[in-house]
């Protein structure tokens, strides 16, 4: 095929260590992290493992505070912004303290420019501007998606993978070519994370730690694959129809909201003031506006500051490389003569199986078209082990492999912003103060990726 002479990497190794502070808050996670890019040390061979990234990288701190909403509810921009505002100072302080650094040590302040929710983005950009002005530091605005991709490449040491980016707001299949991350396929309507989260809310699953994690847990108990619309269009997919079909099953007479407690009539639960009807079935009550605000302010029972941890090198981080022919789904089918019912677990299982099959298929199409053998999964949904497993089997069948990161890095965090921002900064890029506004829409392919060959 096309023989391209390996072009030299335009990114030079730094002559002295450079330290970046990254601030992320495009959705309900507020993340702050510190990352250090250093000149390659003579005796460490790490630099040679990723030729596209000369120099060595160390993650000094990675702190996250998540706004957890009550079951059945999503997060509103205003409440989320309030949450970020409430916690910004503490999270920044904790990030600096656990890295053993002060603001004086920082060389550049990086923040998420977009895409994301307007109000939370603006809140965090304001924090970034304030820090930059107070300590006289340059600013770099970062594309959230590019942050995910660059961190994924760093952590997994996969130099040029096909990227599946799956999060609450995005679903894209991306490959690098000629200084851009080009979008090969994407969702034509809602994002996969959004689809899963909304379904979790429909069936009243908890948002702690995340609705997606609870869907995954629930799906493990599912036993019936219910037919749902499968909609791939070339390398694009559409998920709206799947979600409404899954929701329609909750109105099916066979649907049982939860396993009814033995010996209790359904009438007792209806009297319980904490339960209400969801789609005509009993479920948990929605929480009042005050309660939501209280949680946004960080006083809720589940809100917590998390030190999401560090990684000292790419080798220590989880790298999924499943073998082909692995057991696909390991659930006992319903027994003969068993009562024909539909449980929330069955729905979670069917939703995951259908939606993930679509994601794996479009990734495979991109691999066939572009000719790549390595897949990198990034974004919050990338934590899902069933998705990782399915992707691993597919890649194995093509003689390739899959890389993914765990929740420390695939869920939104400050490190991803710091790392991608620092790459741009090392190429001489800075965002002038007057251009540090945020944009809710910011496509991955708009960014000039001049640090790659």
């Amino acid at each position: 095929m096309v023989k391209r002479a390996a072009r030299p990497c335009p990114l030079q190794a730094p002559t002295k260590p450079v330290l970046a502070l990254g601030l992320e808050g495009s959705a309900n996670k507020l993340g702050v992290g510190l990352i250090l890019h250093s000149p390659p040390s003579a005796d460490s061979p790490t630099a040679s493992t990723s030729s596209s990234d000369p120099g060595s990288v160390s993650i000094l701190s990675n702190i996250r505070h998540t706004y957890v909403t009550p079951p059945g509810e999503g997060f509103l921009p205003s409440d989320t912004a309030r949450h970020h505002k409430r916690w910004a100072a503490e999270v920044v302080e904790k990030a600096l303290a656990s890295a053993g650094k002060t603001m004086e040590d920082v060389d550049v302040v990086c923040f998420t420019k977009g895409p994301g929710m307007g109000a939370p983005l603006q809140t965090v950009a304001l924090v970034a501007r304030t820090l930059a002005l107070m300590y006289n530091k340059p600013l770099v605005g970062v594309n959230h998606c590019v942050g995910h991709i660059e961190t994924g490449r760093l952590i997994t040491a996969s130099p040029s993978p096909i990227v599946l980016y799956v999060s609450g707001g995005n679903t894209q299949v991306i490959a690098y070519s000629q200084q851009r991350y080009r979008i090969f396929g994407e969702t034509l309507d809602i994002a996969v994370g959004n689809c899963l989260d909304r379904f979790a809310r429909i069936i009243g699953l908890s948002n702690d730690p995340s609705p997606g994690a609870n869907i995954e847990k629930e799906a493990k108990k599912g036993r019936r694959l219910l037919p749902l619309p499968y909609a791939t269009k070339g390398m694009d997919i559409s998920l709206g129809g799947v979600l409404s079909a899954a929701e329609a099953y909750t109105r099916d007479p066979r649907f049982r909201p939860t396993n009814p407690p033995k010996g209790k009539g359904s009438s007792t639960s209806a009297e319980d003031p904490s339960t209400i009807k969801i789609n005509g079935k009993t479920g948990t009550a929605m929480v009042s506006q005050e309660e939501r605000r209280r949680r946004a302010a960080g006083e809720g029972p589940q809100a917590s500051m998390q030190d999401v941890g560090l990684s000292t090198g790419p080798k220590k981080v989880a790298k999924v490389q499943l073998e082909a022919g692995g057991e696909a789904v390991d659930v006992p089918p319903p027994a003969e003569g068993e009562e024909d019912i539909i449980t929330p677990a069955d729905l979670c299982f069917s939703l995951q199986e259908t939606v993930f099959a679509m994601l794996v298929e479009i990734t495979e199409r991109a691999m066939a078209h572009v000719g790549g053998r390595e897949v990198l999964i990034v974004g919050g949904v990338g934590c899902n082990e069933r998705l990782q497993q399915m992707m691993g089997i597919m890649a194995g069948e093509r003689g390739g492999s899959v890389f993914s990161t765990d929740e420390r890095f695939c869920i939104d965090n400050g490190i991803m912003i710091a790392h991608a921002g620092l790459l741009a900064y090392r190429m001489g890029y800075e965002t002038p103060l007057e251009e540090t506004s945020c944009t809710q829409r910011f496509r991955t392919d708009e960014v000039l990726v001049n640090w790659r060959a």
Binding site: M117, A175, R182, A357, H369, G371, G372
Partner: protein
């Protein structure tokens, strides 16, 4: 003892591969596409089609391409079986529809829905992607006993150029073939440069006859529709495939020329103007513009 022999027969049957799979076993794996493995094999033409008189020698075996949608173990087996069935039948129906309408596609040779195998005419040529170059690296299988004998695209390009086939006329021919397919009310559903091939035509009666033809392949995601919306989306998918793999042609000077897709659209419009209904072309163009707008505006919230 009839019961015993029946038993033995059943046992023998059980160990035997289905005929189409045993044919595949003896065939040469060409490559793994987006969802199937494709093999090169040979089949004798059906005696019904070529009545043989005792005097003439038997017809030669013809090369065929076997496209095997093998079971995908990553997805639930029920879902996998359903999708394979839908795609194999969908692809064979679309091929027949196109063949009837004179759209250049491979002839259909055999279908085994249960095993997920489709046999079709072997197209001696190159995929358009190979001709244009582009992509990250090769999509061929790992080198195994010289399994692949594909020419380097540079060589293919040189050779075609030597014959007088330039990029622009190739791209316009691509557009014209897609137009014919759309006028046959087939929507491809997965238009990429990997899913169209170029083959040289053997003889030319007059110097004005074309040197080559474009053959459309891979109809697994196709559907039947005549709506401008569906046609526009089909074109938009191809436009994005061009934008991500081979955006523009490079002029000999090294400068960037007209975007490839513009040439495709030129050939498409010309053919629709010529063969389609009045106003059909402008309706599709208008829709394409709307579909593009939609794509650019697509919400990208983190």
């Amino acid at each position: 003892m009839p019961s015993l022999s029946k038993d033995v027969k059943a046992q023998v049957e059980a160990t035997r591969l289905p005929p189409i799979l045993s044919l595949i076993e003896q065939s040469q794996l060409i490559k793994q596409g987006a969802e199937a493995k494709v093999y090169k094999s040979t089949l004798f033409p059906s005696p019904l089609c070529t009545p043989s008189s005792s005097s003439s020698p038997p017809p030669p075996a013809l090369p065929v391409l076997l496209k095997h949608r093998f079971p995908k173990t990553y997805r639930h087996s029920t879902l996998d079986a359903l999708l394979t069935r839908q795609r194999v039948t969908g692809e064979s129906r679309a091929l027949v529809r196109c063949l009837k309408a004179g759209v250049k596609v491979p002839g259909l040779r055999c279908v085994d829905v249960k095993q997920g195998v489709l046999g079709m005419e072997w197209i001696e040529g190159w995929s358009v992607r190979e001709v244009l170059g582009g992509g990250q690296e090769g999509d061929e299988l790992p080198d195994e006993d010289g399994e692949e004998e594909e020419e380097e695209p540079d060589d293919v390009q040189e050779m075609l150029k030597g014959l007088g086939v330039d990029h622009d006329s190739l791209l316009q021919a691509v557009g014209a073939e897609i137009a014919k397919m759309h006028l046959a009310e087939v929507i491809h559903g997965d238009l990429t440069t990997s899913n169209m091939m170029v083959r040289l035509l053997p003889t030319r009666a007059s110097p004005n006859d074309p040197l080559f033809e474009v053959v459309l392949i891979d109809f697994g995601l196709s559907s039947v529709s005549f709506l401008p919306e569906d046609r526009a989306v089909d074109l938009y998918v191809l436009e994005r495939a061009f934008a991500s793999t081979h955006p523009v042609s490079l002029l000999p000077s090294g400068e960037e020329g007209v975007p490839h897709f513009e040439q495709v659209l030129l050939g498409y419009k010309r053919a629709v103007e010529e063969k389609g209904k009045k106003g059909e072309c402008s309706r599709i163009e208008k829709r394409l513009e709307e579909v593009r707008m939609r794509g650019r505006k697509r919400s990208m919230v983190g």
